[in-house]
Symmetry: D4
Subunit: 215 residues, 8 copies
């Protein structure tokens, strides 16, 4: 597995990452990691590699877009000095264009998304050992659905950035696509965004596969 002894692994993102984590710190006793995919990953890491002493920190905040990450990047990423940084952002950047179309201040369009995202990576890359970029997703099988199509564009930006900066790439959308061959989206998430425990497990497994986790 790619994670090494005593490394610090920091996750940042939106409500999918947040999942009621402890604030402001996002680590420690009493479900400090929340109840989403970060906790599942931590549970699997600690139970499988207890000898490694991996330190997991959750810095997700519900409702965040890449613009919100930018505003708290110094405090919540750089000041934390992680060895690994994992980012999953973009769902709200897209979703606000569809659920509140008349409020453009809340939208983050594709160009701005890529620009800010790139800046964040550039200022961070020299300071961490490894970056993992996870695509945003939309749990909808119909690729012609306008929001799914738009989300795919954002996911392609993430893929391109991962390629460019040699980051580990995790395609969460693809992971959900595989599931949707067997179940309808509402089984996992009424709103196609906030998944149940199965959906969080899917995200966790996609991440763990990408870091060569050995079950």
């Amino acid at each position: 597995m790619k994670l090494e002894h005593n490394q610090k692994l920091l996750f940042i993102g939106d409500s999918i990452t947040d999942c009621d984590r402890a604030k402001p710190e996002g680590e420690g006793l009493f479900q400090a990691l929340g109840n989403g995919y970060v906790a599942i990953i931590d549970g699997l890491l600690q139970s499988t590699y207890p000898e490694l002493g991996i330190r997991v920190v959750n810095k997700g905040i519900s409702g965040n877009t890449v613009k919100d990450l930018q505003m708290r990047w110094q405090e919540d990423v750089l000041n934390q000095h992680p060895d690994w940084l994992v980012v999953m952002i973009g769902i709200n950047d897209v979703w606000r264009q569809f659920d509140t179309p008349t409020i453009p201040e809340k939208h983050v369009y594709l160009e701005q998304y890529e620009k800010i995202y790139r800046e964040l990576i550039e200022q961070t890359k020299p300071k961490v050992k490894q970056i993992v970029l996870m695509t945003p997703y939309y749990i909808e099988a119909n690729m012609n659905d306008p929001m799914r199509a738009k989300m795919d564009e954002y996911g392609q930006v993430v893929k391109r950035l991962a390629d460019e900066y040699q980051a580990i790439f995790v395609d969460t959308q693809q992971a959900f696509n595989d599931l949707l061959e067997h179940v309808y989206p509402a089984t996992i998430a009424w709103d196609r965004v906030h998944p149940d425990h199965t959906g969080h497990t899917i995200i966790a497994k996609a991440f763990l596969r990408a870091i060569d986790f050995a079950w």
Copy 2:
């Protein structure tokens, strides 16, 4: 308008109808009609025809299927002696097949849906002046979406029953379809089922149009 002086208009259905109405009675002071389409209809009726003294009663209960309606039909419909009965049921009958596919006890399949629905109409028709049947709906533009397609089948049953029993027919699915030419479903309802105030207004307008309400 088809409603006449002093008539009693009773709505029955699921969470779309319920909307936090007063229980058990569903009429009276203090937002007793809830905050959904029933309240909008009442507000428009009372403000436009204050001289008619229409009495509106809301008997929706969240989560109900047509099987649940059957169990409380005597108490909540027949014992109330309405002049008009309005029914909107079927969303949960379908939804449970998609969000909890492994629990068949919670599913109401098409044949059973029609059979129970028909029985309810037959025992009620002789006792009321008018029956209005509103289709269940799914706020999804893609007609090939499996749940939308299934919901349409249930809507066709409702249409057929309305024709057979000379009930007034309200096609709520069609009303949402018209809207979806301009807005994405998530603008109205993240889960494509529980609409915001705009969505409830669409249902209310579809009903009012069907009874020749004059703005």
Copy 3:
């Protein structure tokens, strides 16, 4: 209809406008517009003209008088850059003279009401496309009732200002007067001020009629 594509429509006022809206922003997801006449107007606008993309903002605050509006005008009106501004204020200016007669600091007498109201219009008129002025009201049929009589004087100020500044004028008092020919005030509002859903629908309809809304 007078509203045009992508226009921003901002409502400001007291508890009748507020109705538990989201704060501080007063727009967005999750019933952000409250549950009063602003939400009814929005529901009817969005369901009837989904293609227009009208943006509705609610900046009402319970208990406000015109003096309170003045204090937050820069922040809550001018900084918002609305295309349309709708004002309904004055009920508390009058009511406090009747319910707490010994506390003059809470009263806004007629002359001061007109003076402040005029200043607000003057500084706003050059910056918006349209202003709508709605009268304060008192749901009491007896024109000789002292508080009704006083409220009518404030309503006449509003009418005069609307005339002077070519604002659209909405006579909410007259709208309630029409209703009171058929129902007693307590049917709509025990306190003759805070209406039920029917009363809010009456305000909404008076506004919509004034902007040539086509049902």
Copy 4:
């Protein structure tokens, strides 16, 4: 004063009497008498005649009409064996005709009001030393207001019954009329029914005057 040593004085009525009294018993420690006119009367009685040991019991229940009193009369009046019985009922009997005009089951019309009231008095008179009948009231100065006019009719029934059965008569409506020569109803009660502490003091004083209380 008419009350004598160790007598038990029981009040029964609606929300004006109830005022958050202890239930089911309505006497004892910790504000068991509520915070309305019953508590004011008790405070003035106990502070002025501490040597008498008067026992005051509050059996008011919010929302009650004379039909509700009838249903609990055996339990809440006769089984209590009061020496004095004080009744104030009728506001809801009238109010429901005005605030929910379409729900006739909640109305108690004049004839039925008198018939039930008379039966209650007849079965009680032989068992108590004294009965006090207080009129229902409506804090509205305009005698032509429909609800005020209707309430006056109910008050006249109470007066007639008091005359017929030699009960002490307390004209609470007249007591409020005197006040309304100086203050507007909203100073006492926004809804013209549930008074503030001043209004409750007016009821208390009207009662105490009728029993020759010496300040």
Copy 5:
């Protein structure tokens, strides 16, 4: 009666005065005067002299000693510009000597009590029309009880200050003494300090008697 048209009457003191009044203002709608003797006085004043328009303000704060009053005197008394000022303070000054004897910082001994109290009167007397000084009290019949005896000393200071500065003097201790000839303290107050409604009525009556209130 000594109070005149439109006068403002301000009460300041501890929990006996406070009684859950509105804060910070202590006047206005919705039981702003609390539920103790201030509300009883207001209710009797407004119901008996509605034509006078007396304005009553409650500035009591639970737990206060004369030292606490001193710290908020400018804000809560002088800045309010009352016509009449009513002070009842001293219970906590004494009580803390008995219930927390080991914490001398919370005690206000007799000399300091008189000194601060005198300063407050001197800076206020030129600015108000009338001052009323009410003794602190202890609802205990046994004059040799150490706390009762101590409280009497503080009451004597109040009496002396009232004499010196021509203030109206209200002997609340004496009012309770009269009651205690007939009832045991626990009937009025388990803790001999916080009275029930009867006890608050006794304080109110003592005040009203001192200002020649005519029932």
Copy 6:
């Protein structure tokens, strides 16, 4: 010490015993013994004699008189099969005569107190190894205080019963009397009944002394 290996020690009484114990069982994990003298006794017993395995059960219920104990004696004492039974009852029997003097149904007069108490002892004595009777008390130094004097009479009944039935006698009143030579009652209990932790420790020590507890 008189308690022996594995004995079960059951306390029954009123709020002094109850102190928020677990219900219905009154033993077990999580402060099941409440936070009063029973918990203090248990803490001292278990910490001093951990080898004995004493089982302590708390069956106090707030507000109880000896009449209430009688009604639940079979369930809460006899069915529990204690080795030792400790009873402290009587405070409410007396207190109600003083705090609610007009409600005689709540009083338990001396004769009835003794009669019921005697019956309880007689039916229990053959079934337990040891009975401990603790006097009710009133934390008031003045022996002429009417409630203290009355409480002493009840305490004398307890003493007499203890003598008659060879029960261990614990004079809690005397224990408090000793304390009152040094501190004022309000230091321990504002209401002279519900003591602070010091007061509960006094009761605990009086009990432990009576059973020859060795510190």
Copy 7:
């Protein structure tokens, strides 16, 4: 993997199983399976084998011993007609002997544990396709710790029963033992019983390994 298409898998046990599951049903929407090992297993099953449609039901209840299971076995196991039954019970049977040693009614000693457990298996075996028995555990590395030693005895009973009845055996104690070679118990569970997410993952993995789950 041993689980087959459409099979129903029912878990029963104590708080470790319960983990705030929905009651009474223990399956369905909204985290109905709780947040412990049952939810982790379900998440891994559904995400890995979405095509199988496995139905998972959680019937754990906090605090249960094998005696409690016996009382609800008909209702919560047999009436549910599971294909697979998974049992983890015994922690409270042992724990109560150590945390409340003086209350023997709450203890379930080894012999009774085995006897009841055996009866439950015998009446169930003919009715289900597969039984899985999981040992109770204590997260303590010291095998000489009295409670760990006792828990091991109960675990050996479970092993013996699994052997006897050809049930699948899951040694949760051993799974924790492996972990404890690397981390101290308090990292997983302050009380050595209720584990964090890592501990629940260990239980889940032990179960999944036993059924040949393929990651």
Copy 8:
């Protein structure tokens, strides 16, 4: 006994000391001392030596380490001017090394512990009459348990500091060790740290024995 007339005794520490004490002050009415060993000590002191007027102050704060004490030492110790200072700190310093091993910022290692502790004593010793140092503890009988062994090292630091600075030394670990010869740790504390009332009594007794308290 070593405590003298009117001395002030201040306790500082972590959650064991805190026990829900009043904040910020930690003394006064209404269980201000919390419900742990400080309250037990106060209860025993006040009930046994009421004539001394000992003043007890609780400045414990949950979760504190010696580093946290250092940050609030000026405010919470020196500014309080105690005669006696009692310190019990170190449990969290050790515990965090075992329950959150990957977060070294929360650990206080032995050397730093001793260094800070020594500084606190040195700056305080000249200003107080007596210092009492209580060891941290872990309620675990197995001396080879890693956390117990570590806690013992911290206890030895405390012992050494007490010797060096002539402080009174209280060996709480030894007190618990004595108990553990008879009962299992879980009887006192599931987590081996936060004791029940018996455990707090053990701490209290160890302290009282050290100051020659005479029962």
